[in-house]
Structures are given as C-alpha cells and as structure tokens.
C-alpha cells in the first residue's frame, strides 16, 4: 500500500480542484459526498499502511522521494514523504476526524450559498495538513504550515460580508506569520549547521552535539516561536478566540483538532534538538503552564459557547507544551490525540446547539436543551467528562500522564497543573449546565424551533463520543493494568532523545504515589464538578448580562485581561500610524525636498544655458550629445 501513499494528500487536493472549478451549480449532496470521499479514501489508505507498519518487526520508516523541488549547488529540497509512527498517527487523526467533520458539515452548511467553496477550502486544508505531517523535511513542513494558515484565513473569513470576520481572518494570518518568520529563521539556522533540511539526517547528526550547544538552543527557540504562533500560546494566542468567526466545523477541525496542534508536532518531530536544548525546554514548560492556567481563567467568565471552547483549546494546548517542556513527548502527543476527539466533539456539539438556536451562541440565552436535543446532550456530556479528566474517559489518561511527569519534575508543577485542570472542569461544567439544564432562557421563537440536528450531524457526534471514551486506552499505564502501548510505539522516534539522556537519573514515581496522585486529582475534579452543578444547575445561577456591573477582577476576566486592547494600542495601531509618520517625515520633508532641490538647480542652470526651453527631451538629446562628444574626444586623445 505504500506505493499509494502519494494518493493520501493528492485526493484532498483533487477534491479541492473539483469543488472550486465544478462545484458551482452542482448539487450540494454530490459536492458534500465527493469532498467527504476525498478524505475517507485517504483515511482507509492510512489505516492500511498503518496496520502492517504496527505489525512489522522493526517499524522501519517509509521514505519516498517523488520530485525535485529546488536543487542549487548543495541545497536540495525534494517533494518527499516520511511515514513513521508520528506521521501515521497524525494522519489517522487528520483524515479520521477530518472525515467526520466533512460529513457533519454537509448538514451544518446545507443552507449556505457558498457551500462548494466551503468544501473546497476544507479539502484544501486537509491537503496542506497532510503535507505538514507527511513531508520528510522542514521545508515541506513549512509548506503545510503556511498552507493551513491560508485555509484558516479563508475559512475564518468565510462569511466575508462581515467586517469583523475579515478582521479576525487577517489577524489570524498575520499573527501566524510572526511565528512563521521565527520558524523559517530556525530552519535556516539548522541548515547552516547541518546542510540539510531532512528530519532524519538532522536528527542523526545532532546526536554528535553536546547538550547546551548555543546554536541548537537558538534554533530551537526560533522553532518554538513558530509553534507559539500556530498553536496559539502566550503571547501570540489572541487570534484563536477570534478565529471562532469561522463556521463551527472549521473551529472543530482546524482550530481545535488539527492545525493548532502543528506546533506540538513540530517539537515532537524535532525532539532530539529540543532535548539538546534544556534552556529552550524550560521556556516551553513555563510558556505552556502559564498559558494553560491563564487561558483557563479567561474561560471561567466567557458566555459565548464557542469562546469558552476556544480558550479551553488554548489552555489544553498549553498542557501539551507543558508536557513537551518536561520532555514528556509521548504524553504531549497522547494528549493531542485524545484532545482531538473530545474537543472536536465539543465543538461539533456546540455547532449542533448553535444550529438549533438559530445562530445564537450566548449560553445565557440557552438552558434546558437536554430535552430537545438528547443526542447532542449525551455526546456533549461525554466530551465534557472527557476534558475534565474523569476516568475512564480519554482525557483522564492523557492528562494524568502529563501530571505524573510534572510531579516527577517537581511537585509544585503538579499542583499548578492540577489547578488548571480544576479550572477546566469548572468552566466546562458551567457551560454544560447552563446550556443543557435549567429552563430555556431564549426567545419564544427560538424555543419553538429547537430540534435535534439531522443524522449527518449526530452520527459524527456519536462516533467522536465513542472515540472520546476509548481513545485513552492506547496508553494505559501499568499501574492501571495497561501496557503503555503508545510509549512503546513511540520509542523509535524518541530513540535519539533516549540516547542523549542515557545515564541520567529519572525520577520514577512509586506505584502507591501514582495511585494517590490519581485519586487526589479525580476527587478534586469531582468536587469542582459538584460545585458547578450546585451553582448552575440546582441554584440556577445565570452569569450577569452585558450591561450589569461586575466586580473588578471578574470584569478583567470577562474582558480577557484586555490583551487585545493592549496589542491594539501597543502594536497594531502604532504600526499603521508610524507608516504615515514615516512617510511624512522622511518622504515629504526629506527625500522630496532634496530631489526637488536638485531639480531646481538643474532647471536654473539650464535656464542660464538656455537649452531646456525646447523641453525635457531637448535636455536628453543634449546629454546624449555630450556623451558622444566625450567619447569622440577620448578616442581622439588616444590616437
């Protein structure tokens, strides 16, 4: 099946071209089916490559070179792929979740006039995302990286008549570009050292380098800047909540399950380099942990269902970076993997709710939807329990592994990590109870229209809910009777890291301690859920309306710490203002004056010569004549 691997990215690309060129006027069902098929077939192909790969003895990575892209002197870049544990697992998520979201979108976007464009962009996104994870070198990764940014831009601004949405789209692309420059410079630095862009060669040659090497440190910091932009970490996170302007399936696929995890992928892919740079790892750990908690606190006070989920995504990505900073690469991937399911589920569930509510996204105007939307309610509940980390749902295992690594590093980190998890549990159940329980708070008209979503939407919800239940079993720890399958499966791609750290003492938690930590965190989470239940379900507390006054610190949370306003005042507006200032000061008052001064001199002097009266061309001919005379003179002089 490996020979057909090229079809995996090519089919979504073909789907894009078909939809964009022939989509207009074609029946929506046909467009939706073809677009979904273009993701389903790659999924099947991925599975059929994955299974023999897992069963093979040596897990030898598959590398295929297709075409030369750029070849100049020793610089050589090919269109080539590398299929190993990491890329295959990513591909499964991208095509698997991607397919479900395509199916869901057929129902969700059914009444949109630009239906075909939506599917075209969605297919194009999957194409670029697959390039990102399949490419065998940093340049192809960069191609995918920027390509998904393009699709994100297109889909955030999908409803382009709304100026706010267009602003959000620009913001997303430009903020990402800040990170992208970092990534690009990081790649150049690696090229300077290794003279190649290929992952495997860099990882191999890096093994010769001692930990703490300044070049590797700088390169990894630059790569991490790229990751910060794409994965919406502090300080480049504000684009992601705004990105919720896009249709909800887009939020699920791009801004939760796949694209935003590209930063995690980048770092796991470069794990050898990061292991060689303990300083960078410290930075990543701090940025991740701070983002995780910071975004979670904002989530506490948001009333837009999608905004809550968006901040929750930022926060969960923070957890993944936290794990990466701890050197727990597999734990980070594990959380990425489980998060993809339950966050996609939650977003699609919120889409189902928004669909039923006729576009309303404010949870203060919802309530009691349980009885109208039983499937959405049930699946959403599963997603909420999963993200809160209740066993045996997926989120429990992955979050537990991160917390265990944190404890091994330093118990303080465990406490902070758990604190973030408790915040998550609280705002998620706040959201859950406000949406599905109590009495309906919307208009009568809305209530009349409440309905469960069509099958194309509920079936993906059900499948994702099942995944959110079982996904955690890929890496059950020994203490719970599992065998750490994912850890063992990923051992090969982390071999370099293992090699570098060989001989270093690893703090290992005792079995008893692991049980205690788990029990504490589960009990704490359950108490928080219980508190949320009393507050929002039993007591029927509804967050204050927009006009009502809110105490200071809460207001700060409602206003998202006013980071947007800060950036606007400190960066965005000054850049534009400075632009006209520069023009005024340098252009009008400086360069133009000089030039005009010179011009004046020329005009004045030519007046005296009385040559220019016939016009500019006369001057030109004059100049030419002078030139030729000069040559003649020179020639005579020589002879």
């Amino acid at each position: 099946m490996e020979q057909l691997a090229w079809l995996i990215p090519v089919l979504p690309l073909a789907g894009f071209l078909l939809s964009i060129f022939f989509g207009k006027g074609t029946s929506k069902n046909i467009i939706g089916s073809i677009a979904s098929l273009m993701i389903l077939v790659p999924f099947i192909l991925t599975v059929s490559i994955f299974i023999p790969f897992v069963n093979s003895v040596d897990h030898e990575p598959i590398r295929i070179v297709f075409l030369e892209w750029m070849h100049i002197a020793s610089l050589s870049i090919n269109y080539s792929i590398q299929l190993d544990q990491l890329s295959l697992m990513m591909m499964l998520v991208i095509t698997g979740v991607g397919f479900l979201i395509h199916v869901y979108s057929v129902g969700y976007m059914h009444d949109d006039e630009n239906f075909h464009k939506f599917f075209a962009y969605l297919n194009l996104f999957v194409f670029f995302m697959l390039i990102l994870v399949m490419g065998s070198n940093y340049i192809l990764l960069f191609v995918g990286w920027e390509g998904v940014g393009l699709c994100s831009y297109l889909l955030i601004g999908f409803w382009y008549k709304n100026p706010e949405y267009n602003k959000a789209a620009n913001k997303a692309f430009i903020m990402n570009r800040i990170g992208d420059l970092g990534l690009l410079l990081g790649i150049f630095l690696l090229y300077l050292r290794f003279s190649t862009f290929e992952f495997n060669r860099i990882a191999f040659e890096a093994l010769q380098i001692d930990p703490g090497d300044p070049l590797i440190r700088n390169a990894t910091i630059l790569l991490f800047i790229g990751a910060i932009g794409k994965s919406a970490q502090l300080p480049l996170f504000t684009w992601l909540p705004d990105a919720m302007a896009g249709p909800t399936p887009v939020s699920a696929l791009i801004h939760a399950a796949t694209m935003v995890t590209a930063g995690i992928y980048l770092i796991i892919r470069s794990n050898v380099l990061f292991t060689l740079a303990p300083f960078t790892q410290e930075i990543i750990m701090v940025v991740g942990l701070v983002t995780a908690i910071f975004a979670a606190t904002i989530g506490l006070k948001q009333n837009d269902i999608k905004k809550v989920l968006a901040y929750s995504t930022v926060s969960q990505l923070g957890y993944m970076f936290f794990a990466l900073g701890l050197g727990a690469y597999t734990a980070a991937y594990f959380h990425l993997f489980t998060h993809a399911f339950f966050k996609a589920l939650l977003f699609l569930g919120s889409g189902s709710v928004i669909h039923a509510m006729g576009g309303e996204q404010d949870i203060r105007k919802m309530g009691g939807l349980k009885k109208y939307m039983p499937i959405t309610h049930l699946t959403f509940a599963i997603g909420t329990f999963a993200i809160a980390g209740i066993p045996p749902l997926a989120g429990f295992f992955s979050k537990d592994q991160i917390l265990a690594s944190a404890y091994a590093h330093n118990p303080i980190f465990w406490v902070l990590g758990l604190g973030g998890a408790l915040l998550t549990a609280f705002y998620m159940f706040r959201l859950f109870y406000l949406t599905f329980y109590g009495s309906f708070r919307g208009t009568h008209d809305q209530e009349h229209h409440l309905h469960e979503s069509p099958k194309t939407m509920t079936i993906p919800l059900i499948v994702l809910a099942v995944c959110s239940v079982v996904a955690g079993f890929v890496n059950v720890p020994e203490v719970l009777g599992g065998n750490h399958w994912l850890d063992r499966f990923f051992a090969d791609i982390l071999a370099g890291t293992t090699f570098i750290l060989e001989g270093q003492e690893h703090a290992h938690l005792s079995q008893t301690l692991e049980y205690i930590l788990m029990a504490v965190s589960v009990v704490a989470v359950l108490s928080v859920i219980f508190y949320a239940r009393i507050r929002y379900n039993k007591n029927g507390h509804v967050p204050a309306g927009d006009g009502e006054s809110i105490p200071g610190w809460q207001k700060l949370l409602v206003d998202k710490y006013r980071i947007d306003e800060l950036y606007d005042a400190v960066v965005a507006r000054p850049v534009v203002t400075a632009s006209s200032w520069i023009q005024k000061i340098f252009e009008t008052n400086f360069f133009d004056r000089i030039v005009n001064g010179v011009g004046q001199v020329v005009i004045l002097s030519s007046r005296t010569v009385r040559f220019l009266q016939t016009g500019n061309v006369g001057f030109y001919v004059f100049a030419m004549a002078i030139g030729i005379l000069a040559i003649l003179a020179a020639n005579l002089f020589l002879n």
Partner: protein, 502 residues
Amino acid sequence: MQTPDTITLPLTGMITVALLAFPFISGLLCLFIPKQAKQVALVSTLIQAILTAYAIYLFNINYRSGFLANMQGIVDQPWITQLGVKFFVGLDGISMLMVILTNFLLPLIVLSTWNREFKQSSLFYFLMLFMQSALVGVFISLDVFLYYIFWELALIPIYFIVLIWGGENRIRITFKFFIYTLSGSLLMLAAIIWLYLQAGSFSIGDLYNLRLDLSSQRWVFWAFFAAYAIKIPLLPFHSWQPDIYTTAPNAGAMLLSGIMLKMGIYSILRWILPITPQAVLAYADVAIIMAIVGVVYASWIAIGQKDFKRMIAWSSIAHVGLITAGVFTLTQVGFQGALVQMVAHGVNVVGLFFVAEIFLSRLNTTQMENLGGIRQLAPVFASTFLIITFASAALPLTNSFVGEFLLLNALYETSYWYAAIGGLTVILGAVYMLRAYKATMLGDVQQVAGFADLSLSEKMVLFPVVALIVALGVYPQFIFNLTDESVKFLLFQIDQHLATTH
C-alpha cells in the same frame, strides 16, 4: 567531422538578431496601420513569444563556450569602427531568462490594454514595442557601449508613455523621473568611457579581463551602482518611483516594474560583479544594508497607503530590495534566488497592476476607501486577485516563496541579522497585502454596485498570471537549470578575478 570547438550550435545569431529587431519592426508597422495597431501589437508580441520559446528549445544549457559560460547565439560585427564599438550580442542562461521574462510578459501587457482606447493608440503601441526591443537589447548586449545605447533607448518610450498617457501631475513627475535616471546614466557613461580607456575595447571579454586596482574599482563600482540603484530603485534613490508608478498608465507601470527595473539587477550581475569584484567585496555590506533597510522602510510605508497603485509601488521597492540584497551575498543560492525572484516579481506585479487597471476601468478610482465588497459581485476576479495577493505575500507553492526562501537563506549565511530584518517582509508583506485585499474586495457592497466580473480578455491576462504563479512555485527547477551554468561561471569569474588582483 566536427571537433568540439567547431560544433555548430542550434541557437544561431540569426535568432538573437530576430529577437532584437522583430518588436521594433512590427512597432513601425503599428504606425503604418494605426487602425489595427492594437491587433498588430498583440500578434507581434505573440510571435515574439513563440520565437522566444523556439530559442529556449534550441538553447543548450550544458554548452560551455569557454567564453562566458554557455553564451550562444552570438553575433559579433564591427559597427562604429572609429570608436571600436561593435554589434556584439549573445545569450547565456541569465540573458535568456531575462529575455524570456520580457517576451512572455509583453503579450500580457498588451492584452491588459485591450479594453482601453488610447488616443493616438498607434504611437502607444509603437512605443511599447520599441521598448521591448530596447529591453531585449539591454539583456543581450555584450559590448558595453551597445548596452549603454539600449539602456538609454529603453528610457525614451517609457518616458513618452507616461508623459502622454499618464495621470495627474505627469509633467512634473516624468521630469523628476527623467532627471533621476539620466543623472545615473551619465555616471555610468563616464565609467564606461573610462573602462574603455583602460581596456582599449568595449567588449565584455576585455572588460572581464581587466585587473583594476582597488581605488579605480571603487569609483567604477559606485558610478555603475548609482545608475542601477536609481533604476531598481534602492533607498535613498527611490523617490521618483512611487509617483511615476502611480501616474503611469497601468501598462506603463507594468513595463517599468515588471521588466525595466530588472535591467538594474541584471546589470549588477553582468557589469558590476565581474569587473569590480574587489570593490564589491568592500561594499557588499553597504549595498545589502541599503537594500534591507529599503525592504522594511518601503513595506512599512506600503501599509499606510490609501491608493492601491501607490501601495503596489511601495511593495515593489520592498521586493526588489530583497532581490538586490541577495545578489550581494555573492553566493550561488543568492544569485539563483535573485533570478527566480525577478521573474516572480515580474509576473506578480503585472497581475497587481492589472487588478488596478480593472478597478480603474470599472470605477474610475484606485483609492481603496472607495472600493470594497467586490468579491460578492465578481467571484472569479476575487479568486484570481486572492491568489496574486498570497503570491505577493510569498506563500509556499507560489512563485515568490521560492525566491524569498532562497534569498533569505543566502542572506542568513552572510549574517543572521540581514535575514532577520529582511525577513520582516514575511510579516509586513502579509500585512499590507491582506489589508489591501480586505479593503478592496471584502465587506458588503456599497460603492461598487454593478461591478462586472472578468471579461474574456481580462481572463486571458489573469489566468496566465495565476498559472505562472503556481507553475513556478511548484517547479522552479526549470529556471535553475537554465541559469545554472551562467551563475557558476559568474562566481568563477569573481573568484578568479580576486585571485589574480593584488
């Protein structure tokens, strides 16, 4: 039997001369059939493009002439014997690429005027074709005096095009333009004469064999470089450019920015680097810094522009700044990046000025505040413009990513800071392009009611532009293969020169 020395190349001097003369002759034809001048011009540029394609087909990329890399299609005839000026032309990979750029863009530029009725249109098209010949002449001349003549001849038609068919303030602006370029040219002329006195010939080979002392190299360098820095333009010689791009008819702006400014960059490669390499080494950092500062400066100003054409003008300064910086890295990657980016910029800027032409022809304005919401009414136009927008912002798999990537990579090897600062174009380029796209195309329709989507002739300009954007982005190797030999030779020439001067 033929020995390798006497091997007859398929690309003969006949074809080179035809490439040079054909546009001018058909330009004259335009003057004689004024009613069909537009049609004549289109057919002529298409024939010229086919002829160019034929020349590519005949071009032997692996041939080594022992003289100037793979230079072929040579014609070497005495011309002004008293002065030792020869009619000496030929094509190596770099010249070929520039000729390709010129001759493939010209049909698009002629087509871009299809819906416009110029007064005295026969004169307009004559000037355009005249200019095409002059540009080809610049790119194929191997006699520096001949080169200088073409360099000056190229100025005349564009000067009249802007003066006669330009917009507001055209008299003042063309005068400024004229003074600027002329003063540069005169410096260059002085240097050329001086070089002739040293070498006793205007021939490229003799000039390349000159071994000037460092102080002579210095002033020759600056005399040439000033002319090119004005033409490109680099900071601080740029202030003619935004005005003239804005006031020029769009076809004129395409000629200026798409092709003519590349004369400057090409000439650095052809006439500065191999003749004054020691001075180049001494001043490379100065040139790079000028260029890089220009990248940031011009990008920043582009962000605040209210007129779409003026924004393109500033963005163009930024782009060519990066190209020039890449040239002065004196590396193979830098040269190739510069070459591929010259082509990419030519294609993209023609696309952008044509977008401006579409705004102008429909709504009689290019002020961005008077536009907006067009996407809703003209989806095909919106899509093509979007692709050009992202190509200008150097998205991977578009043509300018390849160039920008190579240029920044080459700069990185010279200094981290050059790449980091020049790399700001990655961010700033996205800022001004996306702002412009949003302002002109997105939002709700207010002031643009009745905006028609692309007509057939408009599609025939924009679709090839889009095709070139993607094709060059996905497979730029064609260009690298074409210019590989010449670029290597150029580096070899520089190294050899440096090794044999003291």
